[in-house]
């Protein structure tokens, strides 16, 4: 017998909805509701034919019932009664009415609006911090429309962006091949080299499903990382590399492909026709260009002469040095060199010469990995690449290159991240596996537009490449005055200026510059009003003590709260959040989404209440509408909804469900109109099902061909080339940026400017962190370990540490209870399993926890899983598990040119007590 969940006669419903707690979502699920009480989460079995993982639902979603019913919920609006803010201060939150809460908020906002939305330094007075890599948008209903209606808002107060994300990959990936997040084409890939990419923990349901299917097919994955993660566990081979040396490993793979393998084994047509490999480079390091048209030159083997890159019928030479009678080079700004009888080397030749020294033997020393294994892996990769083969998908014949290289956090951000991204992309370029079936492909875009269609974002730009929305660095248009505090537009050309860019920029600067003003830049000010939702930067950022001290001084802070936490500890107003199972929203699903959501359909899914809202929690859209009303922005807000800033435009080619802009609409009305518009959009206006239909059915899609997953056919059709291997454009933009900054008197970004190089090469990246020890006044010998982290599938992005079920089941996975270290290293320090240890950082902070011994980690490395160290969040504050976030520095010297840093640091360690 088993326990019968529903008594006879009980009313049982299965409510279709979605979980989007993490970036790997959405997962479509059903909530079993018995007599009005949610009892079970289940996969939405009806989605099996649509969802890439048969409609399965992630372990995190199962925590949502406890989240909804938690006795620790904030269920009414609250206000702070203790004006003093501090970690040790009791905020003295007391319940207030919605009316009081909303009037207090509106009064603040209206006062700001009356005096001007920008402060004296030109920074927005209103700021907002949202976490989870965009997931809050999937829960904030129509608040996005209010944000759009308000005007300038500083979205740059990050919650980990730049250090907890794939930052260099985001920027360079999107630049080179519209890959904001990059994955294998897992259903077809046969050989994957993964440098620390933790897909089995962080790629969600689809990642787990797809990789398991691939393993069952016989796919081989080589996992390269200092500790054996769950992904490493599922790989065929583990290569325990020294932290932050992945670039050397990847360079040496390129070396084997270029200097040891026969040329014919590379994808020569791809290199010749789809990359800038044939472009001739002049003595100044810029492309040799046709003096008349300014177009880059290639050497036409058929005609035996230099011609423009898009000359019809030319047969480009891939390698060699060629004499060109007349050519120009265009440098930064107006710099221009005119040449006669100049020798130009192809980009490929320069690349090959550049990697000549990066032999496996050279890399073995740096990476602490045997040279023969590197060589073997390079050759296995080459063998598996199937160069020359094709595959047919939906009637379209495409190249078939079932090999991929993926990068993980800490590999693809911070110093060395750019080099890893380049090397990874080059490995794919060499065998033609970039953006083709089986190969390495981008999931989605966040900097280019239109955001919902990668392929449409491919537009011709200069020199035969895709266009890219750089933040300009030319004299006329460079943004010398930051628009928000983190100065992303000013400092990071690659980050662009989309709605995501402010939160991608060097988000640590938003906090750093408050106390450390940089010369020749307007001093950063505290925003007068900051709104926080679904994020906890006081836990999730780096140098979290510093972040806490910044929030301590925020003049007015409003937090949507499920429970108390470390960030809303500093809030002035708490608003009760309708949790995942209580609110309503329609979102787009399907197409391609990170991490590994590759669908063959696309459409919409509804989130609807399956649990009655607790206490006085109000629907997010009703709050947004109320706010719009009280701040006098109702018309703009409604107009933004009509435009679709909440997810779906209400007006289309032959349908119009626009809402009257002068009226207050309920959440139900907003989403009913949105459902109708979505139905119409999916059926070209034929059907107009409203909210009631969607409540029953949950989701609806239309076909989306998998041929859309791959960019290369579009590139070929448009006659465009990938901007690889040579980085002429970036170098020019970087040099210009250098000049602009110099003109402005700014020298604190000089080191970052060095990242702008035509061919990225090896630098002693680990030394950057070693030097930082000295910079902090420490001795390297006192900090002999690296500390790294790894995502936990049970927690990643979820803000769910207050959910006991997650704590319970994560306990089945090693590493969730303390600091993981190698037993041999531990023995040298007299440390045994369970002993209490203290880990200290050069920035003067330290954390304590239990030692967890594991053979699956390098002796020079410590692992602190996930992000614990809570002191206010209920349940979690009793874990007694440390986090590395208090140890990692917010430092200009550790910030790379994209504005990111890597999630690791040097640390010291000692035993402070025996196992109890």
């Amino acid at each position: 017998m088993s326990p019968t969940p529903a008594k006879p006669g009980a009313q049982v419903e299965k409510v279709p909805t979605y979980c989007y707690q993490c970036v790997a979502g959405p997962d479509l699920m059903t909530v079993k509701v018995v007599d009005g009480i949610a009892t079970e989460i289940e996969p939405n079995f009806k989605a099996a034919g649509y969802h890439p993982a048969e409609g399965k639902v992630c372990v995190k979603a199962f925590g949502l019932i406890q989240k909804a019913y938690s006795p620790h919920r904030i269920t009414t609006p609250m206000k702070r009664t203790n004006p003093k803010k501090g970690k040790g201060e009791d905020p003295g939150f007391v319940p207030i009415s919605w009316d009081e809460a909303m009037s207090t908020i509106a009064d603040k906002l209206n006062a700001i609006r009356a005096e001007g939305v920008l402060d004296g330094a030109g920074y927005p007075k209103v700021a907002a911090s949202f976490g989870g890599a965009g997931t809050p948008t999937q829960y904030m209903g129509s608040l996005t429309a209010w944000l759009a209606a308000w005007g300038p808002i500083d979205f740059g107060f990050g919650s980990g962006q730049g250090v907890k994300c794939y930052h260099s990959e985001h920027l360079y990936g999107e630049f080179w091949h519209r890959g904001y997040v990059i994955t294998p084409d897992t259903p077809r890939a046969n050989y994957i080299i993964s440098c620390g990419n933790n897909s089995e923990a962080s790629a969600g349901v689809c990642g787990v499903y797809r990789h398991a299917e691939a393993r069952a097919r016989g796919m081989k994955k080589v996992q390269v990382e200092p500790h054996l993660s769950v992904t490493g566990a599922c790989a065929a081979e583990w290569l325990p590399i020294r932290p932050k040396t992945d670039a050397a490993f990847l360079f040496s793979l390129i070396n084997v492909l270029v200097h040891e393998a026969g040329r014919e084994r590379l994808d020569l047509p791809f290199l010749r026709d789809l990359t800038s490999s044939p472009y001739l480079v002049g003595p100044q390091g810029y492309y040799l260009r046709d003096p008349e048209t300014g177009k880059p030159l290639i050497w036409d083997e058929a005609g035996g002469r230099a011609v423009v890159h898009d000359a019809k019928g030319a047969v480009p030479a891939l390698e060699g040095r060629f004499a060109v009678p007349r050519a120009i080079e265009l440098g930064p700004d107006e710099d221009r060199w005119e040449h006669e009888d100049v020798s130009g080397a192809t980009s490929f030749t320069l690349m090959a010469e550049h990697v000549r020294g990066y032999t496996p033997e050279w890399a073995a020393e740096i990476c602490d990995v045997p040279a023969e294994r590197i060589r073997r892996i390079a050759n296995e990769f080459l063998d598996a690449a199937c160069v020359g083969q094709t595959i047919e998908i939906d009637g379209q014949t495409m190249p078939y290159r079932p090999v991929a290289v993926t990068l993980g956090k800490t590999v693809n951000n911070g110093w060395g991240g750019a080099e890893c991204c380049w090397a990874r992309t080059m490995l794919n370029v060499l065998v033609g596996s970039l953006e083709v079936p089986g190969g390495t492909i981008g999931t989605t875009i966040r900097i280019n537009r239109p955001v919902a269609d990668r392929l449409k974002s491919v537009q011709p730009g200069p020199d035969g490449f895709m266009d890219y929305p750089f933040n300009p660095t030319d004299k006329a248009s460079w943004s010398g005055q930051p628009n928000i505090r983190n100065a992303y537009k000013m400092l990071v050309p690659l980050v662009g200026n989309s709605s995501w860019s402010p939160a991608l920029g060097p988000t640590q600067f938003s906090y750093m510059f408050l106390d450390d003003p940089q010369e020749h830049m307007p001093r950063a000010t505290f925003p007068e009003f900051i709104l926080v939702y679904r994020t906890n930067p006081v836990i999730s950022f780096w140098d979290t003590d510093k972040v806490g001290r910044a929030f301590e001084r925020m003049p007015f802070m409003v937090c949507f709260a499920v429970t108390r936490d470390e960030t809303n500890h500093y809030a002035d107003i708490l608003l009760p959040d309708r949790t995942d199972l209580e609110g309503m929203q329609l979102i787009r699903i399907g197409g391609t989404k990170f991490q590994e959501q590759y669908w063959d359909c696309q459409g919409f899914a509804l989130r609807q209440p399956s649990v009655k809202p607790r206490g006085e929690a109000r629907d997010f859209s009703d709050i947004a509408t109320d706010l719009a009303h009280r701040t006098g922005l109702l018309e703009k807000y409604n107009a933004a909804i009509n435009r679709g800033s909440h997810g779906v435009p209400l007006k289309g080619a032959n349908w119009d469900f626009s809402l009257p802009t002068d009226k207050v609409h309920t959440a139900e009305e907003i989403w009913d109109a949105s459902c109708k518009a979505a139905s119409a959009e999916l059926t070209d206006g034929a059907e107009t099902h409203g909210l009631d239909w969607w409540k029953v059915n949950g989701f609806r899609t239309k076909p989306f061909s998998p041929t859309n997953w791959f960019l290369t056919p579009t590139m070929a059709k448009m006659g465009l080339r990938y901007e690889l291997p040579y980085q002429e454009r970036l170098t020019r933009i970087g040099r210009q940026l250098g000049r602009r900054l110099k003109e402005a008197g700014i020298d604190w970004w000089d080191h970052q400017l060095e990242e702008y190089r035509p061919l990225p090469g090896w630098h002693d990246f680990p030394k950057y962190w070693e030097d930082h020890v000295v910079e902090c006044g420490g001795k390297l010998a006192d900090f002999p370990f690296w500390v790294v982290t790894a995502r936990s599938m049970q927690y990643a992005w979820g803000s769910n540490m207050h959910i006991p079920l997650m704590r319970e089941v994560s306990g089945n996975v090693k590493g969730h209870d303390g600091v993981v270290m190698n037993p041999a290293a531990a023995a040298k320090l007299g440390i045994r399993e369970g002993d209490r240890i203290e880990v200290s950082s050069p920035i003067g902070t330290s954390v304590q926890g239990r030692a967890v011994l594991s053979e699956g980690i390098r002796p020079d490395t410590l692992l602190m899983m996930s992000q614990f160290d809570h002191w206010a969040t209920p349940v979690a504050k009793d874990f007694d598990v440390p986090s590395m976030n208090r140890l990692t520095a917010m430092s200009m010297s550790l910030t790379d040119a994209t504005g990111s840093a890597a999630d690791l640091t040097r640390v010291g360690m000692r035993k402070v007590g025996d196992r109890p």
Binding site: P3, D35, P71, V208, A212, V230, P804, L805, N812
Partner: protein, 217 residues
Amino acid sequence: MTKWAMTADLGRCVGCQTCTTACRHTNNTPPGVQYRKVLDMEMGTFPDVRRVFVPVGCMHCDEPPCRDVCPTTATTKRADGMVMIDYDICIGCGYCIIACPYQARYKVSKPTFAFKDQATDNETKRFDQRLLGVAQKCTFCVDRVDAGLAKGLTPGVDPEATPACVNACLSKALTFGDLDNPDSNVSGLLRKYKSFRMHEELGTGPNIHYLWETEES
């Protein structure tokens, strides 16, 4: 005849514990009582280390030692292989817990809740007095299987008739089906893969089959 069994593909399992949570939901077990869970086994010495995730739980043995020791006949084995506990007969002597070499059985003597003393609405709604002080364990989701069969569904194929852990498994590592039916999913997998059973040498005849390599390898 029918003989229900499960296969667990160790090459697929990633140890995500989704099965564990799904089981906790479906069977409404108290905190810490995991009829299904996935072990995280680390073996070897740096740098030659492997980490294997191993789903465990009641093996619904052919010769269940728990049944043999039960002094009350609360534990029985059905004709279709499922090992069941009648909570109304069990006296909670704990003998079966000790007899099970798979550590699959639990006994909880007093009500326990996720948030300590406070039962949440769903915990109050689903609280089942019968389970206090008696042995409990994985049931192969017998209610789902039986109800599904009554509707003409195929357990292991139709989600409604399939154990929750199998439905939830993200990597399709877990499969449930009829071992006596050569055309069933589990029979097919056992032909395709090499398999072993845990502690088989004890003569229990366990019915979770661990797949570890294809037959071609």
